[in-house]
Amino acid sequence: MIDGKKSKIENTYKSHPVEILGIKDLTSDTRYFKVRFMDEEMKKQFVYKPGQFVIFSIPGLGEATFSISSPPTRRDFIEFGIRRVGSFTEAYFKLKEGDTFEMRGPYGNGFDMESLQGRDLIIIAGGLGAVPLRSALLYAEDRREDFNQVFFLNGARSPEDMLFREDFKAMAARGILDTRLSVDEDPTGEWPYEVGFVTALIPKLAEKINPENTTALICGPPIMYKFVIQELLKINVPKDQILMTLERRMKCGQGHCGHCAIGGRYTCLDGPIFTYYDVQHIKELI
């Protein structure tokens, strides 16, 4: 160095090993992973908000982003739901209990649950959207006194396709949250809950909520947003209180690689949670 100084640069890309504590199939193509940091320090340090995501790494395979599915209120382990959709997830389906991989994060804005204290919450999940929203749901269950009314509307194509089916049934039975589970079709005829699109459940809440004091948390396939938003607007949920979590390609998680840019926003820093108000003002968001 010309001026003789040399600063110590912290590696923001450092991943930390985690151990897989449990694996189970959620549906035919989606699997649940329960992991824990191996380093005691990381177990303490790793705090996150519902809706945030992490980046998994296995050297040789590479890195990819996954949403956290467990709530920050439960600190012993971290849970994920992974759908088999490509070369990367394919590899994770080969892992077994006791195997290890690395993780860095958390990234993204997440849902600021503390700022939602005292509000009515409508949590609406479609398909794989149940994975990130489960974090918010369990948070709301664990901190039920923080919120006014909490509704959980979950849609899946069929009973077979509903992620965390047994968990959610138990949640409905517990009755801490007003849980409404819906399947588009029920070939078995034995589904004890709603049948039809999840959007059909929204008008029923009109009488129950105070729209001005309501926040909706949504995650689902891109096609779902349009219809869900329409229904929410009809029951007068404010545009900036419709929070949705979006997905984009990412390579770094810290606003450097450029892949997740939407307009001037980076999904990894400014998202993945955006409001419907944002959507109206940022082209290409959904």
Partner: protein, 263 residues
């Protein structure tokens, strides 16, 4: 590091072509020995004497298909392999010989070579009756394409090692221009010289443009290629449409054919 479950069984096969891709594997210098130890190479046309087609995890298939017998063998390979890799531009897109895919001109050339009947005499019939060349994907499902004429080690090794590690490589199509700019080269097209970089698949490290030679497209077609715009650019620098198309077709094979018909 990712732990693979097993050392996979690999076969290397060659059909119509110059066998340059098999040769390229044998010429990888430091990596060649590792090639024979990092997987269980059960079959290698060029390096071993002929054997039965084994049950394989991965088959690397070079060359285009020119005869019924080759087609039978190709189908057998597909049956026996979990993953089939098209190795080199001939296997991926048909290669230079795809230029003769037209039935009529093919017959004419057969007559030119073998006399009036246009038939291969029986005593020469070693590989079956010839027919116009086609890429292997015209006949079987191909899992991965690694183009090149011949393949380059820099491009081949990372894809292949993912496969033998039980992983699937990520596809990210790029044209030669990307690697050309990585090298900091000027652009031929700006100086009135033709270059097929913008429509050609990367993987060669832009070796020709870096040596001041235009890209002739030997890595085959780039998935994002914009042929109409490329043709007008080539016309702008003085080529006729026919010349431009001929240059594109030289290595572009069936994909260029489809693109020109479709667009």
């Amino acid at each position: 590091m990712w732990k693979r479950e097993k050392k996979p069984i690999v076969g290397v096969f060659g059909f119509s072509g110059c066998a340059g891709d098999q040769l390229a594997i044998l010429h990888m210098e430091d990596s060649t020995i590792d090639f024979f130890t990092s997987a269980d190479i059960k079959f290698f046309h060029m390096a071993q004497s002929h054997q039965e087609v084994p049950k394989m995890d991965i088959a690397l298939v070079e060359g285009s298909i020119n005869t019924q017998r080759q087609l039978r063998e190709l189908k057998e390979i597909r049956e026996m392999a979990d993953i089939v890799v098209a190795l080199g531009t001939c296997a991926c897109y048909g290669g230079i010989q795809y230029l003769g895919e037209d039935e009529e001109t093919f017959k004419e050339r057969m007559k030119y070579v073998y006399g009036k009947s246009g038939e291969v005499p029986e005593f020469l019939d070693l590989v079956g009756k010839p027919k116009p060349a086609q890429p292997i994907s015209d006949f079987i499902d191909v899992d991965i394409m690694i183009p090149g004429c011949p393949i380059s080690a820099e491009n081949f090794v990372p894809i292949y090692t993912k496969l033998i590690s039980g992983l699937l490589p990520q596809k990210y199509p790029m044209p030669v221009c990307v690697e050309c700019k990585y090298e900091g080269n000027d652009c031929f097209l700006l100086h009135g010289k033709y270059c097929l970089g913008p429509v050609t698949s990367a993987g060669c490290n832009a070796i020709c443009p870096s040596m001041d030679i235009s890209c002739v497209g030997c890595f085959g077609t780039y998935e994002g290629a914009n042929y109409p715009s490329m043709i007008s650019k080539l016309k702008e620098i003085g080529l006729t449409e026919e010349e431009a198309i001929r240059k594109l077709k030289l290595f572009g094979g069936n994909k260029v054919e489809q693109a020109l018909k479709g667009d």
